[in-house]
């Protein structure tokens, strides 16, 4: 089984703060990490390889420093990593990103493509399903369990808002996974050595055979108009008195809000 995992290097959004004077992000000292959901996708691919054999390839689209993220996955035990990098990709929205990734994936060949359910910086959850559409293959989003992997079909549990569905799909297929699916392994010592030595192969707009008009800002239907800080909540009410008086006051507020 030939698995391809798409990962993204993201700033650790939990560490990001807003500068109230300029309304901009303070990125200083914010580490770059592999998007947490993508680690679960890598783990899922490694488990498929352990079960039915095959190869795990990890790809990322990003600037040269994203190599670091790829090396980290080598230390987890993946076979091949590819960096898809080109200045022509600058300004890609989800459409252009999905197009670019699908072109690279076509070149690589695949049976199962795995992605994290969303990246924690953009939080769109769109690139996985859009890649599947470009490749004209089915996808299953929010997978929380892979029940069975056959040569031509796969059976998974997909998380829904009110429970889950058991879904069967033909292979090739693209899955986006949630945290519940597994616990990502830690790098082994051997893996760490391999990561140091790993050769990171590059792919660019030419080698993936992409059409220039579909790339980067030019290929992106959406544009970011502006970015601003969320409004801080100002309404604060202090409850006073003994614990019991505070609880009484709180219940009075709940009554006022028609919750009782």
């Amino acid at each position: 089984m030939n698995c391809i995992v798409c990962i993204k290097q993201v700033p650790d959004t939990a560490e990001v703060r807003i500068n109230p004077e300029t309304n901009t992000l303070i990125r200083e000292g914010v580490p770059s990490i592999i998007n947490p959901y993508d680690l679960h996708a890598v783990e899922a691919a490694l488990q498929i390889r352990e079960k039915v054999g095959g190869k795990v390839t990890v790809i990322t689209m990003g600037p040269p420093q994203a190599e670091e993220a790829l090396r980290e996955t080598v230390s987890m035990g993946v076979d091949v990593v590819k960096l898809i990098s080109d200045r022509a990709f600058a300004g890609s929205d989800t459409w252009a990103t999905s197009y670019t990734l699908s072109k690279a994936i076509e070149k690589l060949g695949y049976d199962i493509i795995l992605c994290g359910k969303q990246a924690i910086d953009g939080d769109t959850a769109q690139v996985g399903p859009e890649v599947a559409e470009f490749l004209n293959i089915p996808h299953i989003a929010y997978v929380k369990k892979i029940e069975d992997v056959g040569a031509s079909s796969i059976k998974v549990h997909r998380l829904m808002d009110d429970g889950y569905d058991v879904v069967e799909s033909s292979v090739p297929v693209l899955l986006t996974v949630v945290k519940e699916i597994n616990v990502p392994r830690l790098p082994s010592l051997k893996g760490k050595m391999a990561a140091k030595k790993a050769v990171i192969e590059r792919m660019d707009s030419k080698s993936i055979g992409a059409e220039e008009e579909n790339l980067g800002l030019k290929g992106s239907p959406t544009q970011v108009k502006n970015i601003f800080a969320p409004h801080a909540k100002t309404e604060r009410k202090v409850l006073e008195g003994t614990l019991e008086q505070q609880i009484d006051a709180l219940i009075e507020e709940l009554r006022r809000m028609k919750c009782i």
Partner: protein, 397 residues
Amino acid sequence: MHIIIRTEKCTGCGECESSCPFASIEIKEGKACINEYCNFCRTCLSICPEGAIVEIEDEGDTREAADLSSYKGVWTFAEQRQGKLASVALEILGEGRKLADERKTELSAVLFGASEREATELIGWGADKVYHVADPTLDHFNDEPYSQLLIKLVKQYKPEIVLAGATAIGRSFVPRVAGKLKTGLTADCTALEIDKDSGNLLQIRPAFGGNIMATILCPNYRPQIATVRPRVMKRGAYEPDRKGDIIKISADATTSRTKVLEVVQETSECMINLQDAEIIVSGGRGIGDPKGFGMLRELAGLLGGTVGASRAAVDEGWIPYRHQVGQTGKTVCPKIYIACGISGAVQHLVGMQSSDVIIAINKNPEAPIFNVATYGIVGDVNEIIPMMIKKLKEAKS
């Protein structure tokens, strides 16, 4: 368009580097450089104290716009589950009505599955037209037939705006539609407006775990598609006698390579799903043990709400993951969020800080949860919650 750095003016101070939301500026050899991550958000333009970062228009940048004027009308995708309209379907109809009135155009709902009764109900909630595909194979969600049908309908009727709920369903199949049609899709919007000058849809959404907000435009492609966060938009008034047209569409010619074998509803413990709940009583490490969640369930029951949890409580195994609120769990915005024994790590705050009213109960007066709380009580949850339960019961009887 390009954003460039005038190296002769750049002093390498690094202001732009640290304020770029996309980590796309680096200082190399004392000068700022923009890399491939640039999203052209223009934040750096106003940050640079030297005015060294400028925006330049490329010649011939005026893209050959498709005939945008032929796209008319606002559409909403009316999500149904087990034949019942989802609440988000009514919320986006309420919002769609406003947008359609502002654009002086029609509002239509698209309904896959369910029966004529639901289609009629959509008219009562504000739709002028309902495109209804009443095929029993669509009663349960399946990505490929849903996306094939929506693509077909959009190509045929050319709406200028399409809204869907940012639910497991909407966020799964709508990207395929946008991919196929080559148009923009904005995820999980919390506000929508019409730009007065251009008539374009301004799509406002949180990013970076809610740390910043972004306004997204799709100026040169149609339709403009957005998924909308549940529980943010307001429903309109229901008028049972409202008139509208129901247009029957056939589901012929759809295909699917995926098959739903079984639908498992997990509503026993979590009677109302988290993202639909008006009131959430959430517990963290301070709850102490799984039994403590029994107490929260009782409180939630009395208030007609549901139970949430912080990652700490889920990791302890006190409550299943589907209750988790925060960066790696669900993002919620109920009317009232009661945080019990939750200290308020940023990862938790980003998942609940847009709730209307936040009530925090925690032993530690310094806990960050109090910074976002509307009401705070400092004290032991195991003393306070039982007292609240007792008083609520008294108030009810």
